[in-house]
């Protein structure tokens, strides 16, 4: 990756009175802040392209698939079923009765995980799959992983709507805590986008990255509190589990939707052995947000810096 270079568009008034876009391409680098500002501006200017790419992905996914839109429900449903099975097994071993809210908890967390896993799967391949576009035409390359993540949002919105209709029967309650949902969704989106920007560009240079991502996703579900609550691992294990950047988003979603817990307040619960364990602290939220925003900024920078040689490596 030797010739790291940059593009410097500037707007000057054209002779005709309109604005003339001047794009200059040289071997010079620009500052981190300038780089990020440029990326954001270019992506914003390409928002209609993003829309069309999302439309393409969604159409192609549903148009010819046998299951059609049921496909959007299938993945989360599978996760919920596996999660429920795990919980039934745990209840059987411990001899305790299965809590009635378990199905709702697993469903809420399952749909979060399904979004992350689905977006990462398509997002990682989004650059390589559109090689014929970016090796021939100019547009901000960020739109490709962005469109992949947004297309996954469409899937998740379908699953989420179905879940919202079912939640009253699964232990969910209408509480003011639900106001946290948009923030958690936004954090999840930002974090996933950051990861996809990084993995999509890594996958372009190293073709085996997609396999590594698949392996990590397969085992990652056990390193995040999808099938169980962190408190079940005890005081230390629970905290360790929350170190995964998406753990607070997933666990927070459960607390908000099922428990009606206000995320600004810490929560201490007694686990099965009667030990008091910290289940939630507002710091978790801050920790997760730092990962999401910092991760996005870092991966946008890596993406931009390497985007100048995408066409030479693809």
């Amino acid at each position: 990756m030797s010739p790291l270079t940059d593009t410097m568009p500037s707007i000057t008034p054209a002779a005709g009175g309109g604005r003339l876009l001047v794009r200059r391409s040289t071997a010079e680098r620009r500052s981190w802040a300038g780089e990020l500002a440029l990326a954001v501006r270019e992506v914003w200017e390409s928002r209609e392209l993003v829309g069309q790419l999302v439309l393409r992905d969604v159409r192609v996914r549903y148009h010819q698939a046998v299951m059609g839109f049921a496909w959007a429900l299938f993945m989360p449903l599978l996760i919920v079923l596996s999660g429920t099975l795990v919980r039934v097994a745990m209840a059987t071993v411990s001899g305790n009765a299965l809590a009635p809210q378990v199905l709702g908890s697993t469903a809420v967390k399952g749909i979060m995980w399904a979004f992350f896993a689905g977006a990462l799967g398509t997002g990682t391949q989004s650059l390589l799959a559109n090689k014929q576009l970016f090796t021939k035409l100019y547009f901000p390359r960020e739109v490709l992983p962005l469109a992949a993540v947004l297309a996954q949002c469409v899937d998740t919105a379908i699953g989420g709507t179905a879940l919202a209709l079912l939640l009253p029967f699964l232990g969910g309650a209408l509480t003011p805590a639900l106001l946290w949902v948009p923030l958690l969704v936004a954090l999840m989106f930002v974090f996933t986008l950051g990861v996809c920007l990084f993995t999509s560009c890594a996958n372009l240079f190293f073709r085996d990255v997609k396999y590594i991502v698949q392996v990590l996703l397969t085992f990652g579900i056990f390193l995040t509190p999808v099938f169980f609550e962190p408190v079940m691992l005890g005081p230390v294990g629970g905290r360790l589990l929350m170190l995964s950047p998406i753990s607070p988003m997933i666990e927070g979603m459960r607390l908000v939707v099922i428990e009606g817990h206000d995320l600004l307040r810490p929560l201490v619960v007694a686990n099965a052995k009667g030990v008091e364990v910290l289940s939630w602290t507002p710091w978790y939220l801050l920790y997760s947000a730092a990962w999401a925003l910092g991760g996005l900024a870092v991966s946008m920078r890596i993406f931009r810096r390497s985007a100048v040689v995408f066409a030479e490596y693809a």
Binding site: S25, R56, L133, L137, Y138, D208
Partner: protein, 404 residues
């Protein structure tokens, strides 16, 4: 006050053959090398690096159309990619002033499962049109493409010609201030080519600066106001389109290095007969090459005659065997005679060595150009009754004139 245009200033572009680490396993040694090794300045060539473009500069102002010609590998595509900002220069800069329309890979964004209508919006967005703009021009685009009946059919059922026509129709309706064109004049049938060319001409004569890369030399001379001739990444001629075409058509260029592992290579091809050659007459060519050691008798000299106007191959000597592998080692010369059963125009004669066991060209040799005078209506593929003879051998080595 800036006006729309394109400026390329002292541009150098370095490429590397091979050595792209493809799996993570290669990352660690690569990083280690980078830490230990000294950072080379950007303008020094490392092993296996080469300059795809060296010190290229030009300006295209409103009302001007620049034609870029040169053989395959001369750097034309690299230059267009640099202007389009798909790759960045190693040194120097490119500047595009104004909204750019690229007639390059005009149907690259099509998704086979989507209908023509859906793809118009997708491709339009990819080349930078807003959805409102596409909606407004949708009927015009479809009418121009001439595929109204199939607009709601998935494009995977389209022929390649229909694909190209729809793609061109979209690109041609982009409101652009600068136009960059790569070889799209060869899409679709002849009637559509005429329309496409007419549309480009219309845009160009309205004052839009144009950069055109093409092998269709005659089209280039009618459209362009100036031209550059590239060879080996350098501008070897700059001037009027006619001057550049003349240089291009008469020069003998060095061959590329494809097939370097083979024990032979073609070094030159030369037109012996005086130019221009009247249509229907026989032309004499001389192909020179070198052989390091004997090779199996599966390698034959292969010549193709390509029309510069249409870019299509009108004649190939495949089937006429003139082996090069079983010649005595050293330099060799092969005389070739072709009967020019073609109409007036410029033709390129491409040389290669054909591997008859794999049925493919294994070493690409140099090209030469022929001017054919006097127009007789010949079209499509023609028979040129070739004769090949190894110079220095008393008897013609293999003289087979197929079909005669």
């Amino acid at each position: 006050m800036p006006t729309p245009g394109i400026k390329v200033e002292g541009v150098w572009k370095k490429f590397r053959r091979g050595d792209v680490h493809d799996s993570l396993r290669d990352l660690v040694p690569a990083l280690a090398r980078r830490l230990v090794g000294r950072r080379r300045p950007a303008d020094v060539l490392a092993a296996r690096e080469f300059w795809a473009l060296s010190d290229v500069s030009f300006d295209v102002e409103p009302g001007e159309a620049l034609g870029v010609i040169g053989h395959n590998g001369a750097g034309k595509s690299t230059l267009l990619k640099l202007i389009n900002q798909i790759i960045r220069p190693t040194r120097g800069y490119t500047e595009v002033r104004g909204r750019t329309g690229s007639l390059i890979e005009i149907s690259a964004g099509f998704h086979p499962d989507l209908t023509g209508r859906q793809n118009v919006f997708l491709q339009g967005a990819i080349i930078g049109m807003s959805t409102a703009e596409i909606s407004r021009k949708f009927d015009q685009i479809v009418e121009f493409s001439g595929i109204e009946k199939f607009i709601d059919t998935p494009v995977k059922r389209y022929s390649s010609g229909m694909n190209a026509r729809l793609g061109f129709a979209i690109a041609a309706h982009l409101d652009t201030e600068v136009l960059i064109i790569d070889e799209v004049l060869a899409v679709g049938d002849l009637a559509f080519q005429e329309r496409a060319f007419g549309r480009i001409k219309e845009m160009s004569s309205s004052g839009i600066p144009v950069v055109l890369v093409t092998h269709q030399l005659e089209r280039m001379t009618t459209l362009c106001t100036k031209a550059i001739l590239l060879d080996g990444g350098r501008i070897v001629r700059e001037g009027t389109p006619e001057e550049c075409v003349e240089t291009y058509a008469t020069a003998v260029f060095e061959s590329g290095d494809r097939g370097a592992h083979l024990p032979f290579r073609l070094t030159a091809v030369e037109v012996v007969s005086p130019s221009p050659v009247p249509s229907g007459e026989r032309v004499h060519l001389l192909v020179r090459g070198e052989l390091d050691r004997g090779a199996p008798p599966i390698y034959d000299l292969h010549l193709r005659v390509r029309s510069a106007r249409t870019g299509k191959v009108v004649f190939s000597t495949l089937g006429v065997n003139c082996g090069v592998g079983d010649l005595p080692p050293g330099e060799f010369e092969i005389e070739v005679e072709l009967q020019l059963n073609v109409g007036q125009g410029i033709f390129s004669v491409e040389t290669a060595v054909h591997d008859s066991s794999r049925r493919q060209d294994v070493a690409v040799g140099p090209h030469a150009h022929l001017r054919v005078s006097q127009s007789t209506a010949f079209n499509g593929s023609v028979q040129m009754n070739p004769v090949m003879r190894v110079v220095g051998e008393r008897t013609p080595r293999l003289v087979i004139a197929a079909d005669s």
